[in-house]
């Protein structure tokens, strides 16, 4: 029982990342009709926004300490971050400690700008080209972005810790009447789940309750009619591309403390996210979210030792297995609408 609760929590956490990335993918696909293989790279860039903010906050003045020596016997270089110089060591250290949450503020404009640029400079030229061309160009873009990040940050993962207040784990089991250590779950992963709920809720409310969102939804349903009504739908779709990039970026920022960011982390999520989108139904936003959490939880259950003892290796194939079953029984995916991706 405790194992199942634990893996459910875990699945919700994994599902959060899948859902956020798949949500952005679906937003782009639903509005612009583009299959964006660079979406994983946007997630990765988000994580590196956290790294960048951490780097900026720890920019340091270097002073030489004649009393200490470095490994070559020269006077040691002592680094003091500027923020500690300006705000005093305690407040300064506190600001550095909170670099990941602060990175959210940094990431939103940066990611929207990157999304905007991507759409205006490159992707809009591919709207009327076949999906295969779109996939090739966005996949190529993903590789370019990856190598650019590698050039500046190296290939090694960069540790980006969460604030000390959220380090460690909560003994969840004790709260609901289990023995200690039965259900222990990290604080930051719980926060990640809550954060994803907020972001998903935000995107849905934005589309649901604002005029802008209403126009976008109308455009997703019938682009030509909205155009005929004199509304510049392309401009709004470009903005949606920026928002989708920001969603992927935020997912990346908050993911940075979970696993140290590296330049190829986007690719690890990309394929899974496509499976999520297909299972959820191409073009369906609720489908993407539902499928994200569902596949996350299934993947976690499949890695239970008891289940792996019956079917070895099931944890590695479960997602694809489910995808095959769903596509065979419901070719449009869980919540897919008629007419999307169909002639």
């Amino acid at each position: 029982m405790d194992a199942i609760i634990l893996q459910t929590l875990n699945g919700l956490d994994k599902g959060s990342a899948y859902a956020l990335i798949a949500l952005g993918l679906t937003l782009i696909f639903g509005t612009l009709g583009v299959v964006n293989f660079a979406h994983g790279a946007l997630f990765m860039i988000g994580a590196f926004c956290a790294v960048t903010v951490q780097r900026i906050l720890t920019l340091s003045v270097i002073t030489l300490d004649p009393n200490k020596t470095d490994f070559l016997g020269n006077p040691a270089k002592i680094k003091t971050p500027y923020v500690e110089k300006f705000f005093g060591p305690e407040i300064g250290a506190g600001i550095i400690d909170w670099s990941v949450p602060l990175a959210i503020l940094f990431a939103i404009p940066v990611m929207i700008a990157i999304g905007f640029l991507m759409e205006r400079v490159l992707i809009r030229h591919f709207y009327h080209r076949p999906h295969a061309d779109q996939i090739l160009v966005t996949f190529g873009l993903a590789i370019v972005l990856q190598e650019v990040v590698k050039y500046f940050y190296g290939a090694n993962p960069v540790p980006t810790p969460a604030p000390a207040a959220f380090a460690g784990a909560i003994d969840f089991g004790v709260l609901i009447g289990f023995d200690p250590n039965q259900i222990v779950y990290p604080y930051w992963r719980l926060i990640y789940f809550l954060f994803s709920i907020v972001v998903i809720g935000g995107v849905f409310s934005f589309l649901r309750f604002t005029t802008f969102g209403m126009v976008v939804r109308a455009g997703m349903a019938d682009r030509e009619t909205v155009g005929l009504l004199g509304i510049n739908i392309n401009k709004r779709f470009t903005i949606m591309f920026g928002i989708a990039a920001a969603v992927a970026g935020l997912a990346g920022v908050m993911y940075a403390p979970i696993n140290s960011p590296n330049f190829h982390m986007g690719m690890d999520f990309l394929v899974l996210s496509f499976v999520v989108v297909v299972v959820g139904g191409m073009g369906s936003l609720p489908g993407a979210v539902l499928a994200g959490f569902m596949l996350g939880i299934l993947e976690s259950y499949a890695s239970l030792n008891e289940i792996k003892a019956i079917i070895p290796g099931i944890d590695q194939i479960i997602i694809y297995l489910v995808a095959i079953i769903i596509l065979l029984t419901r070719p449009r995916g869980l919540l897919g609408r008629k007419g999307v991706m169909e002639e």
Binding site: V184, I258, S300
Partner: protein, 452 residues
């Protein structure tokens, strides 16, 4: 009328060769001379000799590959008499004199393994066939090392393994043309087990997560063997796919499994993530079975420690070498590497540098670049002054035997490179094994291949 093939010219030639052979019996015998200047793959012509450095230049291990390449370039400089000479000054063998190898200037070509066996074989093949590399060295993965070693054996060139830690490299996959200076999974376990039992007590239950490939399996099997000898008992050994990035679903059951130690048989990015995840799950500050829960990483490298950040603090593991050692060889190497690049070298850099020197020295002593002359020069070779203390290149399996370091994540690093402390130096006798040990059985060196 019978026709004789004997001509005046032919007679003169035969006589001259025979005369030379008789006149110089102590320097050359005809066969060796011929074999050492032709009759083997990529016999160097002209005034230079080309070495092939096959390291990951792209992909997740690119930073480690970059450090290996720095070390190789430094070794080439030192062999050619540039720079301060580094470990050539402390090396017990004095055959090398800074004039290249056998009087030929050392040049090099590089290949990108991408940490993929097929890419690594392709780049090694290209360096051998197109660039005329006489020796291939490098690697940051045992899968790659085993693949490239097999290729070099077939091609008739020497393979000097870089960072590869699987028992199989000099065990069931050993080859006559391949040599490994780096230590192996068995030695890590043999060195770590007594230290772990001493620090954490005899009555412990351990849970293992193991990367699902050749290195992971041999590391897990070795750890199990040695920990059980110390009285520990294994709760589970869970294989994790090499492509895993998030280990939470494998870690979630650990705390409630009754285990009080977690052993992570992971390397590189896998290890950075699994250790980071384990610390998130509170495994560094929980009490289980009335004991402090502990995490162990059998193989720790500097780059992994850097990637794991503060999570590495206090974690025990093993290393082949550490720049903080105080022997003369290490000091000389750290000085020349640090002066050239501005930071201390990693253990991957050290093993690559040393392997290049060992190859050059063997060629110099053998008086030939012929692989079948170099193999006997390295077999049973005893040396010192290269940073690991007295070392033996064992003839039976082409594995180096030397002291093993037990390292621990530094709790109070003074700078960004000060990540690991040497907790203990386990003497070579404690990690020595017989060539037919069960973890290494099944392989056969075979015959050296010169490509002739």
């Amino acid at each position: 009328m019978s026709k004789s093939n004997l001509t005046r010219r032919g007679l003169l030639k035969t006589g001259a060769v025979a005369g030379a052979g008789l006149a110089l019996p102590t320097i050359f015998d005809g066969a060796t001379w011929a074999a050492s200047h032709s009759g083997f793959t990529n016999a160097p012509q002209g005034k230079t000799v080309t070495l092939g450095f096959n390291v990951p230049q792209s992909g997740p291990y690119a930073d480690e590959g970059a450090d290996e390449l720095r070390a190789y370039k430094l070794a080439v400089e030192h062999l050619n008499g540039q720079g301060d000479g580094g470990m050539l000054n402390t090396f017990s063998s004095k055959a090398l004199d800074g004039t290249g190898i056998l009087g030929k200037k050392v040049e090099f070509v590089t290949g990108d393994t991408q940490t993929k066996s097929d890419a690594a074989r392709a780049s090694a093949k290209s360096m051998i066939e197109k660039d005329g590399a006489i020796m291939i060295t490098g690697g940051s993965s045992s899968g790659v090392a085993v693949a490239v070693q097999g290729l070099c054996q077939e091609a008739g060139v020497i393979f000097m393994a870089g960072l590869t830690h699987s028992n199989d490299t000099t065990g069931k996959d050993k080859k006559a043309n391949g040599f490994r200076h780096f230590f192996d999974a068995y030695m890590s376990a043999a060195a770590l087990a007594p230290v772990l039992a001493n620090k954490y007590g005899k009555d412990r239950k351990f849970y293992m997560l193991t990367a699902d490939y050749t290195w992971g399996w041999t590391q897990a099997a070795s750890m199990k063997e040695f920990m059980e000898k110390e009285g520990w008992s294994m709760v589970a050994d869970v294989k994790t796919p090499l492509a895993s990035t998030d280990f939470s679903s494998y870690l979630a059951p650990v705390l409630s499994s009754g285990a009080d130690v977690l052993i992570l048989n992971h390397y590189g990015g896998n290890m950075v993530n699994s250790l980071t995840n384990a610390v998130q799950f509170g495994m560094r500050d929980k009490m289980v079975n009335g004991k402090q829960f502990e995490v162990v990483v059998p193989l720790i490298s500097e780059l992994m420690a850097k990637g794991a950040g503060a999570n590495i603090k206090g974690i025990l593991g093993s290393s082949n070498w550490n720049w903080k050692l105080q022997d003369e060889g290490t000091k000389a190497f750290v000085k020349s590497f640090g002066t050239k690049y501005g930071f201390p070298p990693s253990q991957a850099a050290q093993t690559c540098y040393v392997q290049t020197l060992l190859y050059a020295d063997a060629a110099q002593r053998a008086g030939s670049f012929n692989p079948c002359a170099i193999v006997p020069a390295l077999e049973g070779f005893k040396f010192d002054g290269l940073g690991n203390g007295p070392t033996l290149y064992r003839a039976d399996d082409h594995q180096c035997f030397k002291d093993v370091l037990v390292v621990q994540g530094n709790e109070t690093p003074e700078n960004e490179y000060d990540l690991l402390n040497v907790a203990e130096v386990t003497p070579v006798e404690k990690v020595m094994y017989k060539p037919d040990n069960k973890f290494f059985a099944g392989g056969n060196l075979g015959q050296c291949n010169s490509g002739a």
